[in-house]
């Protein structure tokens, strides 16, 4: 019976009609990437055809979340510096920006804050390709917004349970839906063919010690989530902290005191990161054009 509910909910969640529409460009690019002979130039050309999307990508990659603030001038340059996995994550997140800000207030800020924090954690732990970790943070709560859109009544009931029973969002999801956004994340990542590293971070950020293949990605997103909750920048639906896994710090080779530097970097860059939004009133073109 319970499995039935899960199966039907999964079907409903993945009924693509109302899923955030990813730009057509992304599909085309994903196909191109499968051919090892495709050049970066060719991929950049396809993305650059969509000018609005390109401007959004450039705004994102030039924020301090990634390692090159204000220094990336073209889509091609961003692909060379950050790689396709990162750019794909950035495209997905900018595509859901509207839906996110409409359906769950504070979730965008929570997500981009988590991207900043997760990247800082990865740098502190001296992990390779910290930008990819940032994307893990960026997408870690995507399942929440998809649930909000596809299962609006249940989403409301989850919010109600959080308020009246002092549950955390994740606990309330399990009480109301029978599963959490971590499961939805796994379905989505599969559906969108995201790389396994990002998929595992999305599906295991609440229990990084259970991650099977990429515990570091899951652990970094877990600690990033803790940091953004601590600063209460935006909200993933909670007004309380979630338990920090001691094991996550061990997986990353970090001690509690190592977090100080992460917190320093987070507080210092938050102001700038908070200006990365894509509302109609926001100027999506680089500032120097004005």
């Amino acid at each position: 019976m319970e499995e039935d509910l899960k199966t039907s909910a999964k079907g409903q969640i993945l009924s693509i009609r109302d899923l955030p529409t990813l730009p057509k460009v992304l599909e085309e690019v994903s196909r191109l990437v499968q051919n090892p002979n495709t050049s970066i130039e060719a991929i950049a050309k396809v993305i650059s055809r969509d000018q609005v999307l390109s401007a959004k990508v450039l705004k994102m990659v030039n924020s301090p979340v990634y390692g090159f603030p204000g220094r990336i001038g073209s889509v091609q340059h961003s692909l060379v510096l950050l790689g396709f996995n990162v750019i794909r994550g950035v495209i997905i997140s900018t595509s859901v920006f509207d839906i996110m800000s409409k359906n769950m207030e504070g979730l965008w800020e929570h997500s981009i804050g988590c991207a900043l924090a997760t990247g800082l954690v990865a740098r502190k732990a001296k992990l390779k390709d910290p930008e990819e970790f940032s994307v893990c943070g960026l997408l870690h709560d995507l399942g929440k917004v998809v649930a909000a859109v596809q299962l609006p009544e249940l989403h409301k009931a989850v919010g109600e349970a959080v308020r009246t029973q002092d549950l955390r969002w994740f606990e309330a999801e399990k009480a109301v839906l029978g599963f959490g956004h971590d499961r939805i994340n796994a379905w989505l990542a599969q559906h969108w063919h995201l790389p396994s590293t990002i998929k595992e971070a999305m599906s295991s950020h609440h229990f990084p010690e259970r991650a099977q293949f990429y515990p570091q990605h899951a652990a970094a997103a877990h600690v990033g989530d803790f940091v953004v909750r601590l600063f209460e920048f935006g909200s993933g639906g909670d007004d309380q902290i979630a338990p920090l896994s001691e094991q996550a710090l061990k997986i990353l080779g970090l001690k509690l005191g190592d977090l100080d530097e992460v917190l320093d970097g987070f507080a210092e860059n938050l102001g700038e990161v908070s200006s990365v939004t894509f509302g109609p009133e926001d100027d999506a073109t680089p500032k120097d054009k004005v």
Binding site: Q240, I241, E268, L270, G271, S274
Partner: protein
């Protein structure tokens, strides 16, 4: 102290670091209070980021506010010894930050 884009700067905020030209030459000293006319002048000079004191943009970044928020944020963690250790560590971290901010503000 926090680095913010000039677009978020407001009159009344206080500079935590001097503003310098690209070659390092200081234009405006730390501690100076921003005014609308100063902000538009900085904009005209092509300055797009400034360091300001305290909680100008959001309570998120204000360490004294963070200290106050620890109890409500950790309200369900009392039975978890590791989380209590984490909380003690964070209280110390934010308390020291708050004291440092206060010292900078006074100097200005």
């Amino acid at each position: 102290m926090q680095k913010i884009p000039l677009t978020l700067a407001k009159a009344g905020m206080k500079l935590a670091k001097p503003i310098t030209k690209a070659n390092g030459m200081p234009i405006i000293a730390a501690g100076v209070e921003l005014s609308d006319s100063l902000i538009s002048k900085l904009d005209g000079m092509g300055i797009d980021k400034v360091f300001v004191v305290g909680d100008a943009v959001a309570a998120s970044q204000n360490p004294s506010e963070r200290v106050l928020r620890l109890d409500p944020l950790f309200r369900r963690m009392d039975a978890d010894p590791f989380m209590m250790q984490v909380k003690r560590h964070l209280r110390e971290y934010f308390t020291i930050k708050a004291a440092a901010d206060a010292a900078v503000a006074e100097k200005g």
